[in-house]
């Protein structure tokens, strides 16, 4: 749970602390405890209490509690713009008199009145005048409070006595942590409970609402009688029992269609090939001219008879990639040809089909006299090109050049390439969030998620996690229940994030002929992993018990401002970029070193063109490859790729070129895919897990669980798959069946919770 700190503009000596939004100062949710402890122990100079003007009655409940803390308070009535629109009126002066503190009007959405409210709070803090609470409860309650106040020790300030007295009466055990000596107040509690025939906390809650109801009539005027508001009408449709899920499915389809295929692809291509590639044409100026020129060049110089003969021969011999090359030549598409050439040229050469001999290549292996995109339109060179130029200009040493270009720029650039697509997705999600729809989604999904032990609120982290796991895990913060939150953190990264898409795409294209079902099945596996883990974990002792009851305030629907959406998008995106700049930067360097140091002619040394198998990384891969042998991918490259996946999932693709898969069977590749989708996420996400779990033990448990779960599923899929295709071996099959049996046992054994729960209730009663 985080508090946010900032400074007030124009007042260098003023620090503002933004506490989490809460309904009361009771100890039931993490937010409330965080906010309360801050207010009691840090004792800020003043409190700016922002209340929602459209439902004052509910919001003043917290205000009456804050007034008891003995800290100067300014109440700011928010949504003054909505109030004006609806014709409702809040009389600030009357409210001020009834609450005993200054009251100002603000509109957070429009940004009006906020500075005035802050100034007022600063002024109040400087004058150090504490406004004593003026609200009064029924005489007997007041008598009990003052009796407890008298019993309080010297360690509690005079102004705070009312707060502590009420908390003691409410039997709030957590407050004791903030007190040195605790007086015995059971007599007062008993007297009150006997008189009202209710428990003390309910009595005081009722007293607060009674007081608020008594003043609300004078302080505000509603223009209309109770009628369905626009938001209510929208909710009738959007959360309707039949239409809710279809509407949600359509909205999600649009969001993902736009952010993954259309705008997203465009943005990712630009980032990968332009910004972190050779460069790009500013606003596309010159792109069409260049494309024409280059295709013309290809038809004249590249796509010769000799080339067609070689490619056709290779095609007849079933050399991988021949079809792609043939297609590109037929279409006269130089871009596609160049890409296929880059991927398959080595395989061709190995099989004895030398493409280079029939291509117009210059001394450096580039196409001779090919048109330069920089000659057309407005050309902006990419970052690697600029860095290269700079390094050339300062005559950089070869090893340093390699470290910077291949290690740092290549590694970090590959990761940052996902940022644009992610930002597009986050814009949509921020919009859905701030217009109020996301809260409804949690409500709608709760029905389904409850069945496997998660709350509807777990859905939002998973949605965000489909972009990037880091902000996804961070979004789990809104789940109050500790168990539910931990479980959400553990399972969120099962959903394929943006960086896992290249792995899926690579395996789908290289071994499954680009079959779209591979991608669909990846998401299906992710969802299934969440469901299975949810049910299994729920049946363990650690997570036993029902998910916390679902309660969530739903904001009124409204159009979000552009600034709010952009800010939210940027905060999520930035959390990812920051990781790329720190953890991924460091890991890129380590990996670069691992692949460039190693066995050079029999002794340890550095080599620029080192074969992977001779490098330190290669030795590590060889050393651990046996671990993955039962999963079907026990070769050094696959082992290295999996380790690299810890740095960033798309690194898997970097290690594992298209060719490396050719030797794999479809089953082994699919098992490899499953393992990499489900095992521990990248270091950045592990860092996020660590921060949100706030415990090393839980972090290790989460990572360990994910790895073991991934291993188990891959083992089952590979070994049983082998058996059905007729290649099974006895030990593997037995192991897989045993694992499967254990999994099924964990899934279908009865819930233990009923016993533990009863015991808990009993002990509680025994104590009371």
């Amino acid at each position: 749970m985080e508090k946010k700190e900032g400074r007030l503009k124009g007042h260098k000596d003023v620090t503002i602390m933004d506490l989490p939004g809460i309904y009361s100062l009771s100890p039931y949710t993490l937010e409330e405890v965080v906010a309360r402890n801050y207010l009691i122990t840090e004792r800020p100079d003043a409190i700016l209490n922002i209340v929602d003007g459209t439902n004052l009655e509910r919001n003043l409940y917290l205000s009456t509690q804050i007034m008891e803390l003995g800290i100067p308070v300014v109440v700011a009535v928010n949504m003054s713009d909505l109030l004006e629109k609806s014709g409702d009126k809040v009389y600030l002066d009357k409210l001020s008199a009834k609450l005993g503190c200054p009251v100002v009007a603000i509109s957070a959405l429009k940004g009006t009145g906020i500075e005035k409210a802050a100034e007022k709070a600063v002024e109040l803090a400087r004058s150090k005048t504490v406004n004593a609470p003026v609200h009064e409860f029924a005489a007997t309650v007041e008598a009990a409070i003052s009796s407890v106040e008298d019993k309080l020790g010297q360690d509690i300030d005079e102004e705070q006595k009312r707060f502590f007295a009420i908390k003691l009466l409410e039997k709030d055990d957590k407050i004791i942590e903030n007190m040195k000596s605790v007086p015995d107040v059971s007599a007062e509690i008993k007297a009150l409970e006997d008189e009202f025939d209710d428990d003390t906390e309910s009595i005081i809650t009722n007293e607060r609402y009674t007081y608020i109801s008594s003043i609300i009539g004078e302080c505000c005027k509603k223009s209309r009688k109770k009628k369905l508001s626009v938001s209510d009408k929208i909710d009738r449709v959007v959360t309707n029992r039949f239409a809710a899920l279809p509407i949600f499915a359509v909205i999600m389809f649009i969001v993902y269609y736009v952010s993954v295929t259309t705008v997203g692809t465009f943005a990712t291509d630009w980032a990968n090939d332009g910004l972190f590639g050779d460069g790009w044409h500013l606003f596309g100026i010159g792109t069409s001219g260049y494309n024409e020129a280059v295709d013309e060049y290809a038809v004249r110089n590249v796509f010769t008879e000799e080339l067609s003969v070689v490619v056709d021969d290779a095609g007849k011999a079933d050399i991988v990639g021949a079809e792609d090359l043939q297609g590109a030549i037929e279409d006269g598409d130089f871009g596609a040809f160049e890409e296929a050439y880059g991927s398959y040229a080595d395989a061709f050469a190995e099989a004895g089909y030398d493409l280079d001999a029939v291509l117009p290549l210059d001394g450096e292996g580039e196409f001779a006299d090919a048109p330069d995109p920089a000659d057309y339109g407005v050309w902006v060179p990419g970052i690697p090109v600029l860095v290269e130029r700079l390094l050339d200009a300062v005559n950089c040493a070869d090893w340093l050049y390699s470290l910077i270009i291949d290690g740092i720029v290549g590694g970090v650039g590959a990761v940052l390439g996902f940022v644009p697509q992610m930002l597009v997705l986050f814009i949509f999600l921020a919009f859905l969030e701030s217009c109020g729809y996301m809260a409804r989604v949690a409500f709608v999904m709760d029905r389904i998620f409850r069945k496997f032990g998660l709350s509807g609120k777990s859905f939002i982290p998973m949605l965000i996690g489909s972009g990037c796991g880091v902000p996804g895990i961070m979004a789990s913060r809104t789940i109050e229940n500790d168990r539910d939150r931990k479980m959400t953190i553990m399972t969120t990264t099962f959903i394929p994030c943006g960086a896992k898409l290249p792995i899926i795409a690579l395996i789908a294209t290289s071994l499954f002929g680009g079959n779209g079902f591979v991608a669909v099945s990846a998401y299906f596996i992710g969802v299934a992993a969440i469901v299975i883990s949810g049910i299994m974990l729920k049946k363990t002792k650690m997570f036993a018990g029902d998910p916390a009851p679902f309660v969530m305030e739903l904001p009124a629907y409204h159009w979000p401002t552009v600034g709010n959406v952009l800010r939210s998008m940027w905060e999520r995106g930035w959390s990812f970029i920051k990781k790329a700049g720190t953890i991924i930067l460091l890991s890129s360097i380590v990996i670069w070193a691992g692949s460039h140091f190693g066995n050079v002619g029999g002794s340890f040394g550095f080599g620029l063109d080192m074969e992977l198998s001779d490098s330190v990384l290669g030795y590590i891969g060889n050393g651990i490859k046996w671990i993955f042998a039962p999963l079907g991918f026990g070769d050094a490259t696959a082992a290295i790729a999996t380790i690299m996946g810890l740095v960033a999932k798309e690194e898997v693709v970097g290690v594992f070129g298209v060719l490396d898969f050719v030797s794999m069977t479809q089953l082994a590749a699919y098992s490899f895919l499953i393992f990499n989708l489900l095992c521990a996420p990248c270091f950045a996400a592990i860092g996020a897990i660590k921060r949100e779990m706030n415990s090393a033990k839980w972090t290790w448990f989460a990572i360990g669980y994910q790895c073991i779960f991934a291993y188990a599923i891959s083992l089952i899929v590979y070994q049983l798959g082998s058996l059905f295709t007729g290649n099974g071996n006895a030990i593997g099959t037995i192991a897989a069946v045993l694992v499967l049996a254990f999994l099924l046992y964990m899934l279908f054994r009865p819930y233990k919770e009923s016993n533990t729960l009863k015991v808990k209730v009993k002990t509680k009663k025994a104590n009371a």
Binding site: Y23, S24, S26, Y28, D52, T54, N55, L56, E57, R58, Y61, D199, E201, S202, T205, N206, Y209, K226, L228, S231, D232, D235, R236, T239, N240, R241, A244, A439, R440, A442, F443, V444, D446, R447, R450, D546, P549, F550, V551, M552, E553, L554, P555, A556
Partner: protein, 70 residues
């Protein structure tokens, strides 16, 4: 008297009693579900409800709604 989960959509009801475990009840009370207060069911899916309480919209699960008697 009936649980809130049985109330008709669009009808204004008065809360008579809030039951359940202590924690649950207090949580509901903090949200404004107090005896004597008005509550209106706006919509419901499978027992989960969206209700209007003290002029704000709150979504509550079925198990909670069953504990609020109107």
């Amino acid at each position: 008297m009936m649980p809130l989960s049985m109330a008709k959509e669009g009808e204004v009801n008065t809360i008579i009693k809030v039951g359940g475990k202590e924690d649950t009840r207090r949580f509901l009370e903090n949200l404004g579900f107090v005896p004597g207060g008005d509550v209106m069911v706006i919509s419901g899916t499978g027992g989960n409800l969206i209700v209007n309480i003290k002029d704000s919209r709150v979504a509550i699960g079925r198990d909670m709604a069953n504990k609020i008697m109107v």
